[in-house]
């Protein structure tokens, strides 16, 4: 099924669900990373996903984007079951992802990494016939995107491996923000970021939501989560322990559910 | 059970041995025996040849024909084979000592080199010689015999000032060409070229041609493959020395068949001979023309 089908309209008060996972299981040998997890992302929301280390958050989003194949379970986009064969299919469906391991090519420069897999071609015959890259424009756009995030960076044609940890993360975040058409998933996008840069990225996430795209944000930073999330999906031991609203629950409540000290 | 004849050649890289194997195969079919052939991977692959003989003993071969990579490399395994009642015949290259095998059917490579060298010297007339040596793989038994024979026939010693230079070709035409080109760049006066075999000579000719010198250089070779003889006929190579792999192989197979039937073993050295092939004979050197050569050459 093509992911390009028109979204079902939300009926009544029930909000439209953009991305959904039902009873997804993923095992590695005798390790069960996902133990029948459910997941729902609604249109226009920022959904935070929280949980202890090893709770299965990254595995869950990799299953959602086709980066890995779940052992069992179902994934639906706009209510239609989908089978992403790989991350390429997810990208075609307009889903952009910041993976926890960043997925950058260290030897390539910043601009190349920003446009990796989405390179711009030169205008005119040069581009269409000779398929020439528009390196200049990519460099400029990359510079603009990174400036927008207020990142202090060395020259845009430095290899990514020469960047600081936070700068590298900035590149991956900027990439996802630049190209998303349907929804954005970010796995701990601010883990390595400074105070100022974190603020910028949260700002960016809000602006993405305001463009109408829902965002999945995985984060261990409770203040950030409570600052920005519309709903909070809490993972525990490979399952969804609860989905709560930051308005009805406190940080302590959420941490208690995460660690199993309480239930929703 | 079938009578199994084993054949172990030096390499599969050299057409000489490929033809030898094909001839043995044909003869074996004729005689209704089974041929299992093996070869080393490169000139000097003693280990590969030893392993091949071991495998053939295991396979139950009645007789093994072997062209040893070097004359003393596989004495032990040959001894093992003979002790196991296998007839062992050396083809093309003798072992040292020669009685390590039951019999040897071979050419005298040194003599073949002498023939090549004598022809080149005589054909040059009283011109002052400037010689290029396109060697095979230095250190190989055949390589040494042919090289030394050529010098003897040419009447010069190793290190003679008339030797303009040498190149290692491994008997391959691409390396022969590169080696010849570089030697010509170094010394444009080269007027005699020794080649280890006809593929190397083919490469040398390509180089000479690109230097526009194909007419005035005495290019000679050894082998007697049909491609080589045709090159002599076309005037690319002045002369080549023909050997007879077919003959060696067929004689070898016959001997094994005879041994299987009667238990009779051949013995001693049988020279299968070598002939100088050229259409421009020189005085005092026996030679055959290319018409004869094309009738008797090996390959196609």
């Amino acid at each position: 099924m093509s992911a390009e089908t028109t979204p079902l309209q939300a009926t009544g008060t029930k909000p439209h669900i953009v991305l959904e996972a039902r009873n997804v299981v993923k095992t590695y040998g005798h390790v069960t990373a996902l133990d029948g997890v459910d997941f729902e992302l609604r249109a226009g929301e920022i959904l935070a996903v929280v949980g202890d280390n090893g709770a299965g958050k990254s595995t869950l989003i990799k299953a959602l984007t086709g980066a890995l194949h779940p052992t069992s379970g179902e994934i639906l986009l706009d209510g239609v079951p989908i089978h992403f064969k790989g991350p390429l299919d997810a990208r075609h469906a307009g889903i952009e992802t910041v993976y926890q391991d960043l997925a950058v090519a260290p030897a390539l420069d910043i601009a190349s990494n920003l446009f990796l897999g989405r390179e711009l071609r030169a205008p005119g015959l040069l581009g269409s016939l000779f398929r020439r890259l528009d390196k200049k424009r990519m460099r400029e756009e990359a510079r603009r995107a990174m400036n927008e995030l207020k990142f202090r960076l060395p020259a845009i044609d430095n290899p990514v491996e020469s960047l600081s940890g936070g700068q590298r993360q900035g590149v991956a975040v900027a990439r996802a923000a630049l190209f998303a058409r349907k929804l954005v998933i970010m796995d701990e996008p601010t883990a390595a970021l400074g105070v100022r840069e974190t603020g910028q990225v949260l700002e960016l996430i809000r602006s993405i939501r305001d463009r109408g795209l829902p965002v999945v944000l995985i984060s261990h930073n409770m203040p950030n989560v409570f600052d920005i999330a519309d709903r909070i999906h809490i993972m525990r031991l490979g399952r969804r322990a609860a989905v709560v609203s930051p308005k009805t629950h406190t940080m302590n409540d959420v941490v208690a559910i995460m660690t199993g000290a309480a239930t929703a | 059970e079938d009578v199994i004849v084993g054949l172990v050649t030096k390499t599969e890289v050299n057409p000489f041995f490929v033809k030898m194997r094909q001839a043995a195969d044909a003869r074996a079919k004729e005689k209704g025996v089974k041929l299992i052939a093996r070869a080393g991977k490169f000139d000097g692959d003693n280990e590969g040849q030893v392993a091949a003989i071991e495998d053939l003993i295991s396979a139950g071969a009645k007789g093994i024909l072997v062209t040893p990579n070097n004359s003393s490399g596989m004495l032990d395994v040959i001894k093992k084979a003979r002790e196991a009642g296998v007839l062992v015949i050396a083809l093309d290259t003798a072992t040292d000592p020669a009685d390590a095998v039951d019999a040897t059917f071979a050419t005298d490579n040194f003599e073949a080199g002498v023939q090549q060298g004598s022809y080149a010297r005589k054909a040059l007339g009283d011109k002052k010689a400037v010689v290029a040596m396109l060697d095979g793989t230095p250190g190989g038994t055949v390589d040494t015999f042919r090289h030394d024979g050529y010098l003897k026939g040419f009447g010069i010693a190793e290190g003679d000032p008339s030797i303009a230079g040498a190149a290692i070709t491994n008997g391959a035409q691409d390396k022969g060409q590169i080696g010849m080109e570089n030697l010509l760049s170094k010394n444009g006066d080269i007027n005699a070229v020794y080649t280890i075999n006809e593929p190397a000579a083919a490469g040398a000719y390509a180089a000479l041609k690109s230097f526009g010198k194909e007419g005035d250089v005495m290019l000679t070779s050894i082998d007697g493959g049909c491609a080589g003889v045709r090159d002599v006929k076309d005037g690319k190579i002045a002369a080549t020395v023909m050997q007879f792999p077919y003959k060696m192989a067929a004689m070898g197979v016959d001997a094994v068949v005879e041994y299987a039937a009667t238990g009779k073993k051949p013995s001693g050295f049988v020279n299968t001979g070598s002939f100088l092939i050229t259409d421009k004979p020189v005085e005092g050197l026996e030679s055959k023309d290319t018409a004869w050569g094309l009738e008797n050459c090996w390959g196609d």
Binding site: D101, R139, L153 | Q173, E181, S185, K186
Partner: protein, 328 residues
């Protein structure tokens, strides 16, 4: 980080630092250095005719090394370069000798080489086998197949079209074969592909970090297939060039092409781990090997010693390159 610019992201590096920092600057200096030494040891070295000879000798390995570079950039290795190229010469030669149209014969032979590349790519990308094993296996298969096709022996190929690449032309006093021009043209084209197109970017990305390439949505398997396919095509063209150099099809030719082409690539500064390096370096690497061989002969070094001197000079060449890189 201190930058005086107003914008937090600095502008591009200066031209000078880009040239000195270019990965092929080191090998180039080494090449020039060797040429100078050889020129001093024998003035004939610089004769235009000799330089032209060196270029002609570089053609086959030079072109094979293009394909090898592509494969190595994806963190692979190709042990079937020589075998595929010989396949091309044998098939084209055989067909022409059987009376088929030379252009069609050559075209078919090149197609077959491309198919061999495709087969390697299919096994590498489809079954995810190590390229070393796949190409080693194909080498074995082709070695046998070539002997079967050619019935063991070399045969002359007499056809003006197949030999055309060996014809010479004059370019301002410099004699070049068409083969040399085709080599340069191939370098230019593949350089463009590698450096100016998305396809080339993805080659680097895959070699540098396959998992990242996959995650950002590059179709890694399909891309690998295209790399091996292009490499096969290039080996096929090399077959045509080989027939131009020696109009003779020999199943036993190019035994050392694997090692020679990999050597050119590595001397040229490309990493065997993939993702780092470039095509210009390979061309320079191939030329360094050619210059060494020719220069040592012209310097009158005994061939017995040439291996030794070459061994030392190759190590020195790469050591100099390495040092220049560490400095910058």
């Amino acid at each position: 980080m201190t930058t005086a610019t107003v914008s937090p992201v600095e502008t591009s590096r200066s031209l000078k630092s880009r040239i000195l920092g270019a990965p092929s600057a080191g090998p180039l200096l080494v090449l020039i250095g060797f040429c100078l030494i050889f020129a001093l040891s024998n003035p004939r070295f610089l004769a235009t005719h000799n330089l032209s000879i060196i270029l002609q000798q570089t053609v086959i390995i030079g072109v094979l090394a293009i394909g090898q570079t592509l494969v190595i950039l994806t963190a692979g290795i190709d042990l079937a370069v020589g075998a595929i190229c010989v396949l091309g010469t044998i098939v084209a030669g055989k067909l022409v000798n059987l009376g088929y149209d030379p252009v069609l014969s050559m075209g078919f032979a090149i197609l077959l080489c491309t198919a061999a590349g495709l087969a390697a790519g299919g096994l590498v990308s489809g079954l995810r086998l190590p390229p070393f094993i796949v190409t080693l296996g194909i080498l074995g298969i082709l070695t046998a197949a070539l002997r079967l096709i050619s019935e063991g022996g070399a045969f002359p190929v007499r056809d003006p079209f197949l030999a055309w690449t060996g014809n010479t032309m004059k370019l301002g006093g410099f004699v070049l074969t068409y083969g040399v021009l085709i080599m340069f043209a191939l370098y230019a084209i593949v350089w463009y592909l590698l450096n100016q197109t998305k396809w080339g970017r993805h080659v680097y990305a895959i070699g540098n970090n396959t998992e990242a390439a996959r995650l950002v949505g590059i179709p890694v398997r399909r891309h690998l297939l295209s790399v091996y396919l292009l490499a096969g095509l290039i080996y096929g063209i090399a077959a045509w060039l080989a027939l131009g150099r020696i109009p003779n099809a020999d199943p036993n030719a190019m035994q050392s092409a694997n090692l020679d082409s990999i050597t050119a690539v590595v001397i040229g500064g490309t990493s065997l781990f993939g993702g780092r390096g470039g095509l210009i370096g390979t061309l320079i690497g191939a030329l360094i090997v050619g210059v060494l061989r020719n220069g040592l002969t012209l310097a009158g070094i005994d061939p017995l010693w040439q291996d030794l001197v070459t061994g030392i000079l190759v190590i020195i060449a790469v050591a100099l390159d390495q040092m220049s890189r560490r400095k910058s």
